[in-house]
């Protein structure tokens, strides 16, 4: 969040807002300290029920979406790193995406990084009914957990993970609420390795190849 706050400081006078949303079942208890430490002036929200991930079909964090002045999505769900802290793990350079984001803030809908409706639909309209059921199972699990039934929540978290195996949110949030090995017979790293390793853990942002060339000059 300090990284996004610094970027916000640079760009906020360009009719631009950053909404940062914590996907944390534990709410303020878990997410609060990070927000307090970052002293944000961007809009920092807490999403105990993973509502944003549910509405936007997000499967991991961090995920970024660009929304234009008319409230339309112009670039959908992609991994969005503000710095290279996790580069050793992910193999992903943060600069190309940040440069694309800055380009959009400057040029708006004329930016080359804005996607056309066909590209957007392809990326967003996931009408697989399993995903909606998975999301309901996850929601039920969260509600049972919060109502003091952590053991009863586990089968519903497992069902969500089974119905939407692409969702790391369902895995990692559930692991964090209990003990991954005891409750799910696995660990985060076991799951990462089972799915091809950390270098494919995030799909890279879908950016044109040439934007990755001139990253050096833009690095902070």
């Amino acid at each position: 969040m300090p990284g996004w706050q610094a970027l916000y400081q640079q760009l906020k006078d360009k009719n631009f807002e950053i909404i940062s949303v914590a996907q944390d079942t534990g709410g303020v208890k878990d997410a609060g300290q990070w927000i307090t430490a970052a002293k944000p002036t961007l809009t920092a929200l807490i999403d105990e029920k993973h509502l944003v991930s549910k509405l936007y079909n997000m499967v991991n964090v961090p995920t970024g979406v660009w929304i234009n002045e008319q409230g339309m999505i112009v670039r959908p769900n992609e991994v969005a790193f503000v710095d290279d802290r996790f580069k050793n793990f992910t193999g992903l350079d943060s600069a190309p995406y940040l440069n694309a984001l800055k380009d959009w803030v400057e040029k708006g809908d004329k930016s080359q990084y804005v996607m056309n409706t066909d590209q957007l639909r392809q990326k967003l309209s996931m009408l697989d009914p399993n995903l909606a059921t998975a999301s309901a199972e996850f929601g039920l699990g969260e509600q049972l957990y919060k109502a003091g039934h952590p053991a009863e929540a586990i089968p519903h978290f497992k069902e969500a993970q089974r119905l939407n195996p692409k969702s790391w949110n369902y895995k990692r949030q559930a692991y964090a609420l209990g003990d991954a090995k005891r409750d799910y017979g696995t660990t985060f790293m076991d799951e990462v390795n089972k799915n091809g390793g950390s270098k494919v853990y995030y799909a890279p942002p879908d950016l044109p190849a040439e934007t990755t060339k001139d990253t050096k000059q833009h690095e902070r």
């Binding site: 944003v52 909606a132 049972l144 692991y175 964090a176």
Partner: protein, 166 residues
């Protein structure tokens, strides 16, 4: 003899009324739009959850109108030929089958049988918003509990980004 037996009768009557109360009072929790409401359904099975029309409105903010099941401008007509799947009258109350309605509006339902909790997910009309490329609106609190909506920022470019502590 009689005075000695009286307490036994009283205890037996007491037990009976407790048992009757337990049988008549079926409890369930309906979670709709992520808000939990305790209700007293008439019946709950895999495909039927009969709740009073009063509980329908309390738990879901939908209400029964001549044109269908409505919430503000949103209305879902009930197919005339299938009315009995959705509505029935008994013991002076009108009952509504919330699971038949969920099926009608393509709404996923998750159920915990042991705890009698029913979780209703996003209806297809809510899921379609994304396909229209309109950014789905939401209202969430900041760290001080103050609510903010995405739509508050209409007219600005918004970069929406998630993170988590885990």
């Amino acid at each position: 003899m009689m005075p000695a037996r009286l307490p036994v009768v009283i205890i037996a009557l007491g037990l009976m009324s407790t048992a009757l109360a337990a049988a008549s009072e079926i409890r369930a929790t309906v979670i709709y739009d992520d808000i939990a409401t305790e209700i007293s359904p008439a019946d709950q099975q895999q495909d039927q959850l009969w709740i009073t029309t009063a509980d329908l409105t309390r738990a879901t903010r939908f209400e029964l109108k001549p044109q269908g099941v409505c919430r503000q401008e949103l209305c879902f007509p009930i197919p005339k030929s299938r009315k009995q799947e959705f509505l029935r009258k008994s013991s002076g109350k009108e009952w509504f089958n919330l699971l038949a309605f969920a099926q009608l509006v393509h709404q996923p339902v998750a159920h915990d049988e042991a705890l009698a909790v029913w979780y209703f997910g996003l209806r297809s009309d809510q899921r379609q918003v994304l396909a229209s490329l309109q950014a789905p609106d939401f209202s969430l609190p900041d760290i001080d509990g103050k609510m903010h909506s995405l739509s508050d920022f209409r007219g600005k470019k918004v970069f929406l980004v998630t993170w988590a502590s885990w």
